[in-house]
């Protein structure tokens, strides 16, 4: 009888406790720092250890210097705006057929790129980047190791990549470029015969499309001669979270905001790799008439 009374008196307490647990489990994702929909972090992204407000620096002198830098950037942007689209006259925008986006001549050019490998997921590949001979090219080199990390979750490993940093304007605003005049990517490289994957990430506005990527392959020769590889944008196929999608569509280049280019090696072969890159640019190949290389499905 006493036990029953204790149990009965404890029932609302337990019920409240259960309700409290259910409430917490529902609100758990909101209360924690991790993303609501996935904990997947893209290669090249640094692991977030500190919250953004914890990184705030309240030094007055630094903030004044930062403000001066941003105002000078804003002044330059205004002057470029007065000149024409992209800081160039309109005639140049309409008539240009080639444009060099990245070339590797100094450490500053190297700082515009971020290298990463499967070390983020516990792998053992190594990747380094440095300036080549006579500061005429960038040398991306390292060792690929396909040994799978023993964490019980990962099934595959062995990738290294190099991604360009997104361009930001004054006050950390996104910079928009119009690459619609061009239809091909032009790379002057000297590889070691290993195949690479070229990825284009167009930073979408909404978070549902943050995992979208446009990719194509770059096959290098191992010879001592430089290669000039042209990859038409019509060849890039669409994938999301690493899975090639059934609904394919061409990459739109009219709003190249945060459009970052990446080179990834992941050909499942252990061993060293090397890639020298002279420059990466855009080309308007008039002979290339293809709009899109893959079949698009009409819905409705």
């Amino acid at each position: 009888m006493a036990v029953a009374v204790v149990l009965l008196s404890g029932a609302p307490f337990h019920g409240g406790c259960c309700r409290h647990k259910v409430f917490l489990s529902l609100l758990g994702p909101l209360l924690s720092n991790s993303k609501l929909y996935s904990s997947y972090r893209r290669p090249g992204a640094e692991p977030k250890k500190k919250l953004s407000w914890q990184n705030a620096d309240f030094s007055f002198k630094k903030s004044i210097d930062h403000l001066k830098t941003q105002l000078s950037l804003l002044t330059k942007e205004t002057q470029d705006y007065l000149q024409g689209p992209g800081g160039h006259p309109l005639s140049q925008h309409v008539l240009e057929q080639t444009r060099v986006l990245w070339q590797f001549r100094s450490q500053e050019d190297l700082n515009k790129w971020v290298i990463s490998s499967d070390v983020e997921i516990g792998g053992k590949s190594k990747v380094y980047i440095k300036l080549g001979r006579n500061n005429q090219a960038a040398l991306l080199y390292g060792t690929l190791n396909t040994e799978v990390p023993r964490d019980g979750e990962t099934k595959y490993s062995g990738y290294c990549s190099m991604r360009s940093r997104p361009a930001v304007g004054s006050f950390n605003r996104k910079k928009y470029y119009d690459w619609s005049n061009f239809n091909s990517l032009y790379l002057r490289v000297r590889g070691d015969g290993r195949p690479w994957m070229v990825n284009i990430y167009t930073d979408p506005y909404f978070s549902h499309q943050k995992d979208d990527l446009y990719s194509y392959f770059m096959f290098t020769r191992g010879g001592p001669y430089w290669e000039e590889i042209k990859i038409p944008f019509s060849k890039f196929f669409f994938s999301s979270r690493g899975r090639v999608q059934d609904n394919q569509h061409p990459v739109w280049l009219d709003k190249a905001s945060f459009l970052t280019l990446g080179l990834t090696i992941g050909d499942k072969v252990d061993g060293p790799f090397q890639l020298e890159i002279d420059f990466i640019g855009l080309l308007n190949d008039r002979a290339h008439r293809e709009e899109f290389a893959y079949e698009t499905y009409d819905k409705n």
């Binding site: 979408p204 569509h249 009219d254 709003k255």
Partner: protein, 268 residues
């Protein structure tokens, strides 16, 4: 979807009750969304999402303003909007619907994400119901707020369209600019607003259809259309000059009449 668009437009322009007008606007919004996202490209989906969010917010504000007016005055008649708070909220709702400054940021992005024919519908047919509501409530609205928004729209529409290379964005900014002209005169002579709108719709339709037939969506493509269709290119030149408001062409007429009316009101 086209039939739904026509239904929604007809419902709004022929209604006397705020709820009917709101229902017509909602039908319009819902009907145009599949047309914007028809190509299923991520940019088209982005444009559709942006359009839905802004238009839904504007519709909610519109309903809110009519409810405040109904609570204060006891009636739902569109032409009897007398409560000042309602008028202010309605002004912001209509500005959001139309794409007037400072609620214009969605318009160029949405137009850029859609095809030219859907862009035509967004620039002409979808503007008609909100302009009708503005026309019906114009005696009650605050002229200062309308003038402020109109001047900003005209100025920003012109300046922001300067360095654009995509034609749809240029036409979006042109639309914002023309809406500024329509809005500035609505408190003094609403019929000039309607005249401006009809002529703008005619010129924009001609422009969009010409660009659609020549498949020109950027400036560099437009530079070479004269080789493919010289007569059409010449007609497009005249239509664009008319949109700009050059004197001997039709587009100058509404601007002239608006400036004349503003001069009479000691504003020009």
């Amino acid at each position: 979807f086209t039939a739904s668009l026509l239904l929604g437009t007809t419902m709004t322009i022929s209604s006397n009750h705020w709820v009917m007008a709101w229902a017509g606007l909602e039908i319009n919004t819902l009907a145009i969304l599949p047309m914007i996202s028809k190509s299923h490209h991520p940019r088209a989906i982005e444009a559709a999402t942006k359009y839905f969010l802004t238009q839904a917010t504007a519709s909610a504000l519109l309903l809110f303003s009519s409810m405040i007016n109904a609570w204060q005055t006891g009636q739902w008649d569109i032409t009897q909007l007398t409560n000042p708070t309602s008028c202010l909220i309605l002004t912001s709702a209509i500005a959001m619907k139309l794409g007037l400054v400072p609620f214009h940021f969605w318009f160029p992005e949405v137009l850029q994400g859609t095809s030219l024919t859907t862009g035509l519908l967004l620039s002409t047919l979808m503007k008609f119901p909100p302009i009708t509501l503005l026309y019906m409530t114009s005696p009650s609205l605050n002229p200062t707020v309308l003038t402020f928004m109109a001047i900003l729209s005209t100025a920003l529409g012109g300046w922001m369209g300067l360095n654009q290379t995509q034609i749809r964005k240029i036409l979006a900014f042109s639309s914002i600019s023309h809406l500024g002209w329509m809005t500035i005169i609505i408190s003094y002579n609403p019929k000039l607003t309607l005249l401006n709108f009809y002529l703008y719709a005619l010129m924009t339709t001609a422009t969009f259809l010409t660009l659609h037939s020549t498949k020109a969506s950027k400036l560099s493509t437009l530079m070479t259309t004269w080789t493919k269709a010289p007569a059409l290119n010449a007609a497009l030149l005249l239509t664009l000059l008319s949109l700009a408001g050059l004197p001997p062409l039709t587009g100058f007429l509404p601007k002239w009449l608006i400036i004349q009316e503003l001069t009479k009101q000691d504003m020009a």
